[in-house]
Symmetry: C2
């Protein structure tokens, strides 16, 4: 994706300088989602007040409008993992080089992106210290210490924290940033069965975050050997798709690490028979990337579109006074409406500012993606009703104040469902089943998410990458879906012509 670079003149704060603020002089996006997706995205996250670009490239400020969405997902996920008896902890931000490098495949995957602290104040540190890109190597020496016998298992910890990956390719708010917020779960079990089961249980929570909260359809599946987590046994993921760019995006990952880290970090226990055994481990994470996927999938040319379940303001109430009308009555009706909705647990606000017109306010809250607008003017006041306008499809409805709560709740549920349905419809038309290399390249040029029979050989995936290299980036596997279509005897791999072993999704990706 080729969004403007963070810190470009459009968004960079001028030190001390105070330029005109756009929102006060004219609303609306200058880029259109279908014409110029990268620029549209960069513009909408800033104009919607989710993000402010920061003076260090690849770092972004998460403003309250974005943070509240993160917090809503956090409340859900944290309660769910606590039900699973997973406990929160906090491990240090810093890793010493020896520990970081203990697992070879793992560090190879992360080394180029590791940020190093070498100085404090004016003094050089004796040894440079790494900032965690992820915490496997931070945590597992202590798992080795804490786990002795089978009664110490399972050990199930999670932490909410920041991590740093100093990437140089195309930083994009939420999607690819040098620092991001996430949760990372790290668990250890006596048996592979238990580890396998947890991998899927967590993956289901990730599906629910995307589908139930963010209204984004995702595909559950397994990553290829090339795409799996460095040092792990296998990786499962939920995969979303951005129709505008024709790119898949890894939504969240739940890894079974097998016994590889256990071996490197000597995480052993005495089993019930008194024998020494190695633990089976998982790690799993989702990050603030989720918010970026939500913006990309639902946003439109008027701005953000927030699913009601994650919107910090679900209903914005706008008074629409006229010259000769009962202005005080209108403001009172707005307050009463706010009160009724708030008491019913609906997150509502009144925009009672006197220096903006109702029209300006409509545009402003559309830009911010508030799911439902309630307008109250003289006519509504007279007939004891309010007018409700949906953000997702501009549908309008007059609601008698007597049935306000009931109907607003219905509307919010309907918006949540409609957003998911619309996103699924758009995603589904982008999925193309193919069988041959010609069909594959054709579908790729049409920005499809391609479902293809594959021999499941690493060399073939490498070959596909090489053969599809180009300006837009190479194609790779997204995942092999758990829901596999029938694979008739004799089906051949689209790329190698060898016998196909499974169906896999392929495409370009973020």
């Amino acid at each position: 994706m080729a969004g403007p670079k963070p810190g470009s003149s459009a968004t960079k704060p001028k030190a001390g300088g105070k330029k005109e603020v756009k929102k006060e002089t004219g609303l609306g996006l200058t880029n259109k989602k279908d014409d110029n997706f990268g620029e549209w995205y960069s513009e909408v996250v800033v104009s919607g007040e989710m993000i402010e670009y920061y003076d260090i490239s690849g770092c972004y400020i998460l403003r309250p409008w974005a943070m509240s969405i993160w917090e809503t997902m956090q409340v859900f996920f944290d309660a769910e993992i606590k039900k699973m008896k997973i406990k929160n902890c906090y491990f240090p931000l810093f890793v010493s080089p020896g520990v970081l490098q203990r697992e070879k495949d793992h560090i190879e995957g992360f080394a180029p992106e590791v940020a190093w602290v070498t100085k404090s104040g004016e003094s050089d540190l004796e040894v440079p210290i790494a900032i965690r890109p992820t915490s496997e190597t931070v945590m597992y020496p202590y798992y080795s210490k804490w786990i002795r016998g089978h009664r110490d298992l399972p050990l199930k910890l999670n932490q909410w924290c920041n991590v740093v990956r100093w990437e140089f390719s195309h930083p994009t708010p939420f999607i690819r940033s040098r620092e991001f917020l996430w949760q990372e779960g790290h668990t250890a079990f006596a048996t592979k069965d238990e580890a396998d089961a947890e991998v899927l249980e967590i993956l289901e929570l990730y599906r629910r975050i995307y589908e139930e909260y963010l209204a984004i359809p995702v595909i559950k599946g397994k990553k290829s050997e090339m795409e799996k987590f460095a040092g792990g046994l296998y990786t499962t993921s939920v995969e979303a798709f951005i129709p505008n760019t024709g790119r898949g995006i890894q939504g969240a990952t739940s890894h079974c690490l097998g016994q590889n880290f256990a071996k490197m970090f000597e995480i052993n226990f005495e089993n019930e028979k008194g024998e020494k055994a190695m633990v089976w481990q998982n790690s799993w994470a989702y990050s603030t990337r989720t918010i970026g996927v939500m913006v990309m999938v639902h946003g439109d040319d008027k701005g953000l579109v927030l699913p009601p379940k994650v919107a910090s303001v679900q209903v914005i109430i706008v008074p629409v006074p006229y010259k000769d009308a009962d202005t005080q009555g209108i403001f009172d009706a707005c307050s009463a409406t706010l009160d009724t909705l708030s008491k019913a647990g609906i997150r509502a606000e009144v925009d009672s500012r006197d220096n903006y017109s109702p029209g300006w306010k409509y545009s402003h809250w559309e830009m911010k993606g508030v799911p439902l607008r309630i307008e109250i003017g003289p006519k509504d006041l007279a007939s004891n009703q309010v007018r409700a306008v949906r953000r997702d499809n501009s549908g309008k409805k007059d609601i008698p104040r007597a049935s306000l709560v009931e109907q607003v709740k219905e509307l919010l549920e309907s918006i949540q469902q409609s957003l998911f349905d619309a996103a699924k419809e758009k995603r589904d038309v982008c999925i193309q089943v193919i069988n041959t290399w010609e069909e594959f390249t054709e579908a790729l040029s049409q920005k499809k998410m391609i479902l293809a029979p594959w021999c499941d050989e690493e060399e073939v995936e490498k070959d596909v990458k090489t053969r599809t290299k180009g300006e837009m980036g190479a194609a790779k596997t997204l995942c092999s879906p758990f829901e596999q279509p029938a694979l008739p005897e004799g089906t051949k791999c689209f790329a190698s012509g060898k016998p196909a072993k499974k169906w896999s999704y392929w495409g370009r990706s973020y």
Copy 2:
């Protein structure tokens, strides 16, 4: 304080090595609180499973037992500041050097402790990047951008995050660590009155965290010019006291920054008269240090003592089976008790492990500081009661199962109050009012928290520091309490003999 260094042999995890785990071979602390406070503290935070020492000096692992206390305080404070319409956000971990150095007094205060990232992967960064020691300079360039007119005010943001201060003096778990977790609030107002009012409103929340949650008495007051926040106008704090070491400890701070940062970062707005004006700013923070103060104040020779309001397990239920007794009946009664307590919202657990004796379990949960133990043996089963044992004073009580919830709730409230009362009594006997230099040095040698009439001159505070330098560390002002005793005309400063302007607390401090 002279606790063992983190990473010392007593606690350092041996890479790969597996030494005997103490808790399986013998319980109890080897150090006594009154004999050997520093060692006792280091031992109790580890044995109580709050902390694990980490292989980088000054960094500590917060285990779930500590993290859950942090989360309880977070839930309280976060809800309170949201009522005040303060919103959460997240600013980057990194600061560019130019911005960091914009406010001269401020950076002088932090410069020696700033950690610098100079490399990513194998490459040197073009410019070294600092890790935030606090976020004033990270945030305020954007406050300058976001604040234009009086309608943009107040701007009230908070973030929950980690910060890094690479200190070299005596790292101590929770109390002084190189990375710690905190919240930092940063607010901007049109008027000084609003800023002043918020400083106190936040300080009151900090008092409530200490007194209502952690059961620790604190003194609210104002810091001296020497001790105030670097670059700010004035600093208020809640001050706690550790009788064992005779040291005050700054519990949390609420700063009025005045207009100094506004000037440096050009945070201006157009007021209602259309004139350009500068904002008034506050910043305020409390950190995981709170947990360390709690351990120091309440812990005893058997281990941690947790106040019920912050304990993740408030009641531990221990089955006490005897050979010929109805073991199944006892276990069933434990389950039923757990069920009854859980449904009443009391955080309870059963320790049903079959490889430990009841006696071992008593010691184990005493070490971890669980406020109330419930024992159920054959006699209790027969008389349809349970035996409750308080952690704070070992008080025992037989409770009929019919009034279980009511009496357990009463006991937990009583424990919470007793802890506070006992801590206050111990603290109060350490407070000494003095009037002369002789009385001052005598009280200091007795490890008192000294309340003294003072001329409020910076030179005099410097002079007191110089004159009290020694092995134990110099004395300084802790705060000037808001509750001022009468200051009769003609009262002289204890140190300078000049006319006293106020009463101030003095002492050694953390």
